[in-house]
């Protein structure tokens, strides 16, 4: 029998997992955690709270609150109904901040930003009715490994357009990450939760002190968001975009002393500079505008050699290109959609970015030929 082991702190016998149960319980009981069993509103409650909507299934829930599929009765349009977490709404000064910021968010109208239609307060819930996007988040596409470099470029340029539009109007997203970037069925990128972190009054540093984790993973946060949360401007979004870009290209996060993307995957080396400059520690050394990143990415995309064994056209073709060949996708979105579709049709991992299998085949064939030749040699001369 294994001898019993004891905790050096309190002397309790350790569990089979080598953890001291008493110390575990002290940690569990130490600080009041958020209410464990936060109850969801019932369908009757929802119907009473939102008479203008026909509330359907729960699409998702997170630190920010709950999202339902709904139908706006008057206009008969499908919407996503987002209910902000009650803990957030209960904070002092929230109502005024919510009303002020929500107006700004509702004023953002861009094809790559999820449109906020309406907002309000119902009971203890603050809510938004938003455009319903049928598609997948970048997180999911990343997990499925369904994207290639060219599609990554198409996605990044669309994110740039949305960011530039919002930044021009003084709105900073502050929480750009793959979960907040949706790609709809037509291949259109739609950015979610624009400025919502500001609505909720969250500062990035708040993650350490607040019970509801409003901000996302720290990996996408610009250094200044950690160090000087009060001084964050639109360049924090550009840093986060850099992280997303790196992840799109390599499938990994730029952690610690990371390698430039072209060292990890077969892509145009000129993209290294774009990604690395977006990821500069000092905001001054980054690109200063999202449109600059877009220009750089488009320039690389326009002059890159065609990707090996892929079906997506070589360059993002402008929307107004009348001379696009018949059957070729005419917009970036279409290119992206076509690429996703092709990838889905062919299965998730059939195409590879590197010509390694070809080399392998050659080596195998040469090996077989050499073996046969040797065998023949022996047969002929030593018979």
């Amino acid at each position: 029998m294994t001898p019993a082991r004891y905790c050096t702190e309190c002397g309790s016998a350790l569990g089979a997992d080598d953890l001291c149960p008493r110390c575990l319980l002290v940690v569990a009981a130490a600080t009041p955690a958020p209410r464990a069993a936060r109850t969801l509103p019932t369908s009757e409650e929802l119907a009473a709270l939102f008479p203008a909507f026909e509330v359907g299934e729960l699409l998702g829930q997170g630190g920010m609150g709950l999202v339902y599929r709904a139908r706006q009765r008057a206009l008969e349009r499908p919407v996503a109904l987002k209910l902000l977490a009650r803990e957030i709404a209960a904070e002092p000064g929230f109502a005024e901040r919510f009303a002020r910021e929500a107006r700004v968010l509702a004023s953002l109208a861009h094809p790559h930003i999820v449109q906020v239609f309406e907002f309000g307060q119902a009971g203890e819930w603050c809510w938004f009715a938003m455009e319903l996007v049928e598609g997948a988040s970048l997180r999911r596409l990343l997990a499925e490994r369904t994207l290639d470099a060219r599609q990554a470029l198409a996605i990044v340029t669309q994110i740039c357009e949305a960011l530039q539009y919002a930044h021009d109007r003084g709105v900073v997203h502050r929480d750009i990450k793959p979960e907040n970037v949706l790609v709809d069925r037509a291949g259109q990128v739609k950015i979610l939760d624009f400025g919502l972190s500001k609505v909720s009054g969250a500062q990035p540093g708040d993650t350490l002190t607040r019970t509801h984790q409003v901000m996302g993973t720290p990996h996408y946060m610009a250094p200044e968001q950690w160090e000087r949360p009060g001084e964050v401007d639109h360049r924090a979004d550009l840093y986060a975009l850099g992280v997303v870009f790196y992840e799109l290209l390599t499938g990994e996060l730029p952690l610690g002393r990371f390698e430039p993307p072209s060292k990890k995957v077969a892509i145009d080396v000129r993209l290294d500079e774009v990604v690395l400059r977006s990821l500069a520690k000092e905001p001054e050394r980054r690109y200063q505008q999202a449109s600059e990143i877009k220009t750089e990415v488009e320039r690389v995309g326009a002059t890159s050699p065609p990707a090996p064994a892929r079906v997506v056209p070589a360059a993002p073709v402008p929307d107004r290109a009348p001379s696009a060949p018949v059957g070729a996708p005419r917009t970036r979105a279409q290119a992206l959609a076509a690429g996703l579709q092709a990838r889905r049709t062919h299965g998730p991992s059939t195409a590879t970015r590197e010509p390694f299998p070809l080399v392998l085949k050659l080596v195998l064939v040469l090996g077989c030929v050499a073996t046969l030749a040797t065998a023949l040699f022996f047969l002929v001369f030593f018979r």
Partner: protein, 281 residues
């Protein structure tokens, strides 16, 4: 590296120790874990999930329709019951029979529906119910000796009793009182399951290495954060956040598990205090 070595390394705390593999840092490097962390593809933030706790009172009130939930609750807490039966004088085999029979009865008979659990706790309820069951079993066993038949309960819950006795000796060896043993075993089982669930949650979202490296922090920790940072390839700030998150998530898990065994949310704190008292005794 074995658990023993990890535990030993933690105990002595000489320099940074990787909780994932128990390897001591060499020249400030922790290669293996760093690779493991870098290989993780999906460092998604843990979504704040709402736990769907099934109140045991609800379970009992609608036994017929809630059988799976009741089975789940039973399966989660068989070990304290076994511990009680053993300390009450049953042999290992008898204790197994008692627990299986007890659950079979709990799941099949209607007499439990008569119990009013609004004010009670699942823990206390199970302990008392088992006590009665044990007494009945003894009567029945005596009757069996006199010629009656003794039916061995079907192991329909698929409980695995292997190692139960060893665990009892290691983890609740300090007392011979059945009731106290039950309380200690209950608290330990609840915490063990919460840690296990948390690990599964982290692994499912591709952050298994983060959990493995930082799990020591769940029990107070005080480990070398610089070593964690090196080990996981994260900045010191990100390690702080990760530890904070892990603990917050653990608190939620523990409270959710407790919530399932008490009648009202307000009782959670009391139950936490009761469990702490059991483990401190």
């Amino acid at each position: 590296m074995s658990r023993e070595k990890i535990a030993e390394a933690r105990r002595t705390r000489k320099g940074p120790v990787c909780h994932g593999r128990g390897e001591r840092a060499r020249d400030g490097k922790m290669g293996a874990c760093r690779v493991a962390a870098a290989g993780e593809r999906d460092p998604v933030p843990m979504p704040e999930r709402v736990f769907h706790t099934t109140r045991w009172s609800v379970v009992l009130a609608a036994q017929a329709g809630r059988r799976p939930e009741l089975e789940e609750l039973c399966r989660a807490y068989w070990w304290p019951l076994y511990a009680y039966a053993r300390r009450a004088g049953a042999s290992a085999e008898e204790a197994e029979d008692v627990v299986q029979g007890f659950f079979a009865r709990l799941l099949e008979k209607d007499d439990l529906a008569a119990v009013a659990p609004e004010k009670g706790r699942f823990r206390a309820f199970l302990r008392v119910a088992l006590k009665h069951h044990l007494a009945n079993e003894r009567d029945r066993a005596r009757a069996a000796k006199r010629g009656g038949g003794r039916v061995r309960a079907a192991s329909e819950l698929g409980l695995d009793f292997a190692g139960a006795d060893e665990r009892l000796a290691l983890e609740a060896g300090g007392t011979s009182d059945p009731e106290r043993t039950f309380e200690v075993a209950w608290a330990r089982e609840l915490l063990r399951a919460a840690v296990e669930e948390l690990g599964e949650e982290y692994r499912a979202s591709g952050r298994g290495a983060v959990f493995e490296v930082l799990r020591g922090e769940l029990a107070g920790g005080g480990g070398d954060q610089a070593a964690y940072a090196e080990c996981l390839g994260l900045s010191p700030g990100a390690v702080k956040v990760a530890i904070h998150r892990l603990r917050a998530r653990f608190q939620e898990r523990v409270r959710a598990r407790i919530a399932a065994t008490v009648a009202r949310d307000e009782d959670i704190e009391d139950e936490l205090a009761a469990l702490l008292a059991a483990l401190s005794g």
